[in-house]
C-alpha cells in the first residue's frame, strides 16, 4: 500500500531543512508531488523556492530531511536522477555565444542521445517551441521569450519524467507567458511531472496543486480551490471615492487583517466570524463620515490566500517578539 502511494508520487520530502550558517533558508518542509501534474511553489523572493528546488534535484545538500525523487534517494543517488529530470535555471544558462541549433546539439550530446534520437527530437523541439527560424541565431541575441523557449526545449530534449522550472517566466512578456504555460500543459498530458516556482498569482492559479512558502516555511498547500476554501478569513470588496482614507480607517479596526487597494476598490480581509461583515463595514465607515458606495463579500482569490497565510505568520512572529 505504502509502495503504491509512493510510486504515484514523483517527489516525497520530509523535514527538508537547509541552513546557510546564520539563515535557515528552508525549514522543515514536507512535500508530496503527484506524478503527471503541475505543482507550484508560490512565494516571495527569499522564501526558499530556489533552495528547495536545488535540494530536490541534488544540487544542494540538505542540512536535514529525507528526499525521494522518482524513487531515488537524494542526494545519494543524485547522479542517477540526472538522466530522468530536466532543470531550467532562473537565469538563462545556455551558451549565449552559440547558436540555437548548436546549443541544442550540445545538450543532446551531453545527454548522450543517439544519432537517430537527435535526428528526430531536435527538429521536433524546434518546431514545437517555434525555434525553426532562429536556428542560426546566437542565443545571446534572442528575446526573453525566445530564450525561455530555447531553455525549455533544451531541458526537455532528453524527455525527462520530471521537470524543475525555477521562476521560468520572470523575464517574459504576458503573451509569451501564456504560450509557455500551454507548452507545460502539453508536457503534462504526455506524462511529465512539473515542479515550477513562481511569484505570479496568475501562474499559481494554473497549477494543479501548490505549496505556499514564506521565509522557508510551508504555510499552506493544496489545489487552488482547496486553498481558497480553506482560507481563515473573509474577503470584502469595498468601493469608495476616497479609498485611501477608508483603507487607513479600516486598518485600525481589530477585526480587519489587511486592506489592499486596486484602483478605487479595496479588498479587505476580515475575521471569518464577523457576521454580515460587508454591512458592518459599510455601517462603521459611514458612522466615521467616510463615503462608501458599495460593500460585498467575494470568493477569496489565491492572492488573498497568499496574503492571509503570510500575514498570519507575521502576526505570530510579532507576538513572540
Amino acid at each position: 500500500m505504502a509502495d503504491s502511494i509512493s510510486s504515484e508520487l514523483a517527489i516525497r520530502a520530509r523535514g527538508l531543512t537547509k541552513d546557510f550558517g546564520h539563515v535557515v533558508a528552508v525549514n522543515n518542509l514536507d512535500l508530496d508531488v503527484p506524478r503527471s501534474r503541475i505543482y507550484g511553489f508560490l512565494g516571495p523572493n527569499g522564501s526558499g523556492k530556489s533552495t528547495s528546488i536545488r535540494m530536490l534535484c541534488g544540487l544542494l545538500t540538505p542540512t536535514h530531511g529525507d528526499i525521494r525523487v522518482l524513487g531515488l534517494e537524494i542526494p545519494r543517488q543524485a547522479e542517477q536522477l540526472r538522466r530522468k529530470v530536466g532543470y531550467m535555471t532562473q537565469k538563462f544558462s545556455l551558451f549565449e555565444d552559440l547558436t540555437v541549433a548548436e546549443n541544442l546539439n550540445f545538450i543532446a550530446n551531453i545527454y548522450t542521445l543517439t544519432r537517430a534520437e537527435q535526428k528526430t527530437r531536435i527538429p521536433e523541439a524546434m518546431e514545437r517551441y517555434e525555434l525553426g527560424r532562429l536556428t542560426r541565431q546566437r542565443a545571446g541575441t534572442l528575446s526573453g521569450g525566445q530564450k525561455q523557449r530555447l531553455a525549455l526545449a533544451a531541458a526537455t530534449l532528453h524527455e525527462p519524467e520530471l521537470l524543475f522550472l525555477d521562476e521560468p517566466t520572470s523575464a517574459v512578456d504576458p503573451e509569451n507567458r501564456r504560450a509557455f504555460w500551454e507548452s507545460l500543459f502539453d508536457l503534462v498530458a504526455e506524462g511529465t511531472t512539473i515542479l515550477v516556482s513562481t511569484h505570479y498569482m496568475d501562474e499559481a492559479e494554473r497549477c494543479h496543486a501548490l505549496a505556499i512558502l514564506d521565509l522557508g516555511v510551508l504555510v499552506a498547500a493544496g489545489s487552488p480551490d482547496q486553498l481558497s476554501a480553506g482560507i481563515d478569513a473573509a474577503v470584502i470588496v469595498v468601493q469608495s471615492r476616497e479609498p485611501r482614507k477608508v483603507s487607513r480607517f479600516l486598518d485600525q479596526q481589530e477585526f480587519v487583517h489587511s486592506t489592499a487597494q486596486i484602483g478605487n476598490i479595496l479588498r479587505v480581509m476580515v475575521d471569518r466570524d464577523v457576521p454580515d461583515a460587508a454591512d458592518f463595514i459599510k455601517k462603521i465607515s459611514s458612522d466615521a463620515g467616510l463615503a462608501v458606495d458599495h460593500c460585498e463579500k467575494v470568493h477569496p482569490s489565491l492572492e488573498d490566500v497568499f496574503v492571509a497565510a503570510t500575514q498570519a505568520r507575521k502576526a505570530a512572529r510579532d507576538k513572540i517578539e
Binding site: L59, L60, E79, R82, R83, T89, S93, I110, T112
Partner: protein
Amino acid sequence: MKSLQRIFAIVIKELRQLSRDRLTFGMIVGIPALQLVMFGYAINMDVRHLSAGVADLSQTAASRQVILDMAQTQVIDINYQAADVFELETLMRQGKIVAGIFIPPDYERRLLQPERAAIHLLVDGSDTVVGGAVASIARSARISPYNDRPPTMEIRTYYNPERRSPVNTVPGLIGVILTMTMTLFTAVAIVRERERGNLELLITTPVRSSELMLAKILPYVFIGLLQVTLVLALGAFLFDVPLRGALIDVYRVCLLFILANLALGLVISTIAQTQFQAMQMTFFILLPSILLSGFMFPFDGMPRAAQLIAEILPMTHFMRLIRGVVLRGATLQELSSELLVLGVFIVIAMTVAILRFNKTLD
C-alpha cells in the same frame, strides 16, 4: 562642491568593494611583496656555486692545487669526478654540470710549454651569464711554480659559442608563453561559465566532473602545441636558433608542460570566483615562473630558498628540459628526472582540481 560629493561617493564605494573582494585585497599587498623579494633574490648576475665536474688525468700535486684554486673562487662547486673528457661532455648534456675542468695526463710538462694549453675549461654557453662567470675563473689560476706564468688555459664553449642571447632566450620563451596562455585559458574557461550561469546547467546534466575537466583542457592542448610550433619556427627563421635534439622530443616535453599548466589552470578555476580573480592568480604563478625558473636569471645564482620555490614551479623543470633538448641535444632518458617531476605535478594538480570541483552548489 557637488562634484566633489559625487567623486567622494564613488571613491568610498570603490574602497568598500575592494575590501570585500578578499583575493584582490590580498594581491594589493601580495604582488609588491612577491616582486620585491623575488627580484631582490633572483637578480644576481654575480653567480656562484655553479655545478662543475673535473677530469684530472694528471693526478699530481700541481693539478690538485690548480683545481683547489678554482674551487676557492666559489664560482664553481666541484660535484662530479669524471674519467675523461667524454664523461664531462655527457654530464654537461644532461644538465648536471655547466663547467668541466679537463687536465691532460701531461699537465706538468705542458706547464713548461706555454704554447700548449695545460687546462681545458669546458663551458655550457647556453646561458650567457653562466658562460661569462665560468670564464672568469680562468683568471684565478695562480702563477705556477715552474715558470712565472699562470698555466695556459683553453676555454671551449659548448652549445652557444658565439654567445648569442636569442639562442638561450627563445626556447625559454616557449615556457613563458605557455605558462601565460595555458594557465589563463583554462582558469578563465571554467570561471566564465560559473559567472554566466552555464555551470549550473552543466552540473544538472549527467556530465561527470572528470569528463568536464578533461574536456575543458583538451582543446587547449592543441592550441598550446600550435604556439610551440610558431615559436620554434620563428626562432629558427629569425634568430637561427639551433635544434640539436629530436623534434619529437621537443613536442613531447612541451606536451607534458602544457598539461601541467592546464591542470594548474583548472585548480585556479576551482578557487577563483570571478574572471578577474582567475587572472590575478595566474599572474601570481607567472611572475615567479619568469623570475625564478632560470629563464631570466641563472638558477644557480639564486639563494637556496628561491631555488626551493622554483622547484615547485613546472616552468623550472620545463626550462631544464627544453634547453637540454633544443640546445644541448640531450635525449629524454638523460632528462628523465625532470620529466618525472612534471608528470607528478600533473597527476597531483588534476586530482586536486577534480576533487575540488564539486557537482553541487554547496
